[in-house]
């Protein structure tokens, strides 16, 4: 009986398979699919929405086709750092959805899980956020349009010592970027003549920060350096820093801009006032191109207060992908695509940027900012100094 069953269904299965294959081939004709992996639901959903807003802002300004090839974005949700799921999603985007480019990726562990697939799938990955230096060494087919912790943290050392703060406690999330940030800050502060008295690493999923604040108090430090991935953890951390009275007691917090992203500022308000951060992008950056970007981004995301830095990574990411598509004339050739954008320079909403031909990471200006109110009374990251043409220093040991 089973044999009859098999005989009957085998041809049907084969037919369906053949049908699916021809359908797949005809659909590929002139639409280039770009798979975007990011946190679109769950606690980090706002960061994912910023990916979407940045990408859509770019499409709205530049049209949905590049050199005659239509771009179709395929979003896949990865709510929290989950390397296994990241790999599964990327594999599926490549094999089933036949994407020619991968983009997005909020967390470093996810990026590290995806990179081994790129060569076999003949697909470049343009990272919109994940910020550990070492990702770039894991595959030659990765290009990054965000930042690294080493890049954003390094200027903080000098800035802190200039403000008379020398003895630090460092607090970072215990994963790739956190370790990078801790190392970069230690190096920077020691070069400027300060010191890190105690380095604390906390689990990535920590949400309760009062015990950490107590440890800072006990350590008797003048300043705190902190990095956590932007989202609920950073909001909780900055709030706890203010609520437990550390801020009032005169302890100074220095951090990369992840801690004061614009979408958190309305909720933080006074708690964040005066904090010094260093970062590659502030929504309030003064330039014509940024004004246009912010207008398009706010329209895509739906509310003016929600826009923050992942959007600019996605916006520039799409620009890079469009250059890749143009250079390969729409054909799937990952190596040629990556080769084409090495050394590419352009004017981004964050300022002048360039893809470093050696590391394939973005070279950019890093700004020192202070949380303050603008003329309309909105909390912003006010740029107070800038360090131009910062490469990623995280790989040069």
């Amino acid at each position: 009986m089973t044999k009859g069953f098999l005989n009957r269904w085998l041809p049907a299965g084969a037919l369906a398979l053949a049908g699916a294959l021809t359908l797949g081939a005809s659909a590929m004709a002139d639409t280039i699919k770009v798979g975007i992996i990011g946190p679109f639901s769950g606690p980090f959903a706002l960061q994912g929405k910023n990916f979407q807003a940045g990408a859509e802002a770019w499409l709205a300004q530049n049209g949905k086709s590049v050199a005659g090839h239509d771009i179709e974005l395929v979003y896949r949700d990865l709510p929290t750092a989950n390397p296994q799921q990241a790999r599964a999603l990327a594999q599926e985007l490549i094999v089933r959805d036949k994407v020619q480019y991968l983009g997005g990726v909020y967390f470093t562990p996810d990026a590290m899980a995806i990179t081994p697939l790129l060569k076999q799938g003949n697909v470049p990955l343009v990272i919109f956020n994940a910020a550990t230096s070492a990702i770039m060494t894991s595959s030659p087919l990765v290009v990054r349009t965000s930042f690294t912790l080493s890049q954003t943290t390094t200027p903080l050392g000098k800035a802190a010592v200039e403000r008379g703060v020398k003895k630090f406690v460092s607090i970072v999330s215990d994963y790739g970027p956190g370790v990078d940030a801790e190392g970069a800050f230690k190096k920077a502060i020691e070069a400027a003549g300060g010191e890190v008295k105690e380095a604390i690493r906390i689990p990535l999923n920590t949400t309760e920060f009062s015990p950490i604040m107590q440890r800072i108090r006990d350590a008797g430090a003048e300043g705190v350096f902190a990095f956590l991935p932007s989202g609920p953890p950073t909001l909780g951390f900055v709030k706890a820093f203010s609520d437990t009275g550390l801020k009032k007691a005169g302890v100074k917090l220095f951090a990369p801009g992840d801690l004061t992203q614009e979408s958190d500022l309305p909720a933080l308000g006074e708690a964040a006032a005066g904090l010094i951060t260093s970062f590659h992008y502030a929504v309030s950056h003064e330039s014509e191109i940024n004004k246009r970007f912010v207008a398009a981004g706010e329209k895509a995301i739906g509310a003016p207060d929600l826009l923050s830095f992942p959007a600019v990574g996605a916006y520039d990411g799409l620009f890079v992908i469009s250059k890749m598509i143009a250079a390969t004339a729409g054909k799937q050739d990952a190596e040629k695509a990556v080769e084409a954008v090495k050394g590419l320079g352009w004017e981004s909403p964050r300022g002048p940027v360039k893809i470093d031909p050696e590391t394939r990471h973005i070279t950019q200006t890093i700004y020192l900012r202070e949380v303050a109110k603008d003329a309309q009374g909105r909390w912003i990251n006010k740029e107070i100094a800038s360090v131009p043409e910062q490469k990623d220093s995280g790989l040069t040991k």
Binding site: A16, S41, R76, T108, M112, S173, D174, P203
Partner: protein, 329 residues
């Protein structure tokens, strides 16, 4: 009814069941050649849900910590693979052994308590292991995940590549073997005692049977199966994340089991396939609000099919065949 006749009848039914699983599995291979990575994950989770069914469905022990066993298998296989043991069959056995050892430990602890405290213990164990895996990042990779595995080709020929054909067929073969063994185990006198302990522990102990070693045995078997599932996931995706030893995985497994029907091995399979397919399709259609939709469908299923999908199917079959049977009685 003579024992021999009933024996051959159940054997026939088992063979038919296995043939059906193989057929559905191979059908999946032909019909969805682009989805094999996902289907392999379904098989891996099916092993986890089967293992949970052994504890929950056959012994009546509530557990929200099955991820501990699954994760033990995944990490053991992953770590072994990173350190040069690359034969996939051997890796599955390593995963099974790690799962069994973890099952022994977990059972020894959980069987000290009953009811809700037991449930709390299971959650505590999986959370502790999660933290341990996070802390021991030099061995497990911590939050960054364990990567850098490259399993050798299966039998020296079939590579584990991007398209996942060999991984899927390997997984399907594993599932068939495990399923056949579990059918045997659950119907053996040992399996019957477990069921008896679930229904009426007092009466079983009146028969002179001491419950603890029996249940501990089942924990070890369950751990072996879950460990194999974890090892399969590690081989197929070549990454092991903290997620594989989490409360979330454990809770999801229980949801799938309830969905399919507790206490039926087929129910565990049906529940896994339906739940994961639903989640997969909805998440692809709407990556922004898929969780809401999945939640709504789950509530609907639990409300309208409280005995799980397989229980409802049973009932349906009984309704359809009642007249025929009724005449005989």
């Amino acid at each position: 009814m003579p024992a021999a006749a009933s024996g051959s009848r159940t054997l026939g039914r088992d063979l038919l069941g296995l043939a059906l699983i193989a057929l559905v599995g191979l059908g999946g291979y032909w019909l969805f050649p682009d989805n094999l990575a996902f289907l392999t994950r379904v098989i891996s989770v099916a092993l986890l849900v089967l293992s949970l069914d052994l504890i929950v469905g056959y012994c009546g022990i509530a557990s929200l910590g099955q991820g501990a066993l699954y994760g033990a298998g995944a990490y053991a296989a992953g770590i072994a693979c990173v350190h040069g043991i690359t034969d996939p069959v051997l890796l599955i056995l390593i995963g099974a052994a790690a799962g069994a050892v973890m099952g022994l430990l977990m059972g020894a602890i959980m069987l000290r308590a009953h009811g809700l405290p037991q449930l709390v213990l299971s959650i505590a164990i999986v959370q502790l292991l999660h933290e341990a895996a996070n802390k021991a990042s030099s061995i497990t990779g911590g939050s960054d995940g364990l990567s850098g595995m490259s399993p050798a080709p299966l039998f020296g020929v079939f590579e584990f590549d991007l398209w996942g054909r060999s991984a899927y067929l390997f997984g399907l073969g594993l599932l068939l073997i495990v399923f056949a063994v579990l059918r045997f185990v659950t119907r053996s006198p040992f399996g019957m005692i477990c069921r008896g302990l679930k229904e009426d522990p007092l009466r079983i102990s009146a028969l002179g049977i001491y419950a603890f070693p029996v249940l501990l045995n089942m924990f070890v078997i369950s751990g072996t199966v879950a460990g194999m599932g974890g090892a399969l996931a590690a081989i197929a995706t070549q990454v092991v994340g903290l997620d594989s030893v989490s409360f979330e995985v454990s809770a999801n497994a229980l949801v799938m089991l309830v969905l399919g029907g507790i206490g039926h091995l087929y129910g565990a399979l049906i529940g896994t396939v339906i739940f994961m397919a639903l989640e997969h399709i909805v998440a692809a259609i709407n990556p922004f609000h898929w969780m809401t939709l999945v939640g709504a469908v789950l509530i609907a299923i639990v409300l309208f099919a409280p005995r799980g999908l397989s229980g409802t199917l049973d009932e349906l079959a009984r309704l359809l065949t009642r007249n025929r049977w009724g005449a005989g009685r």
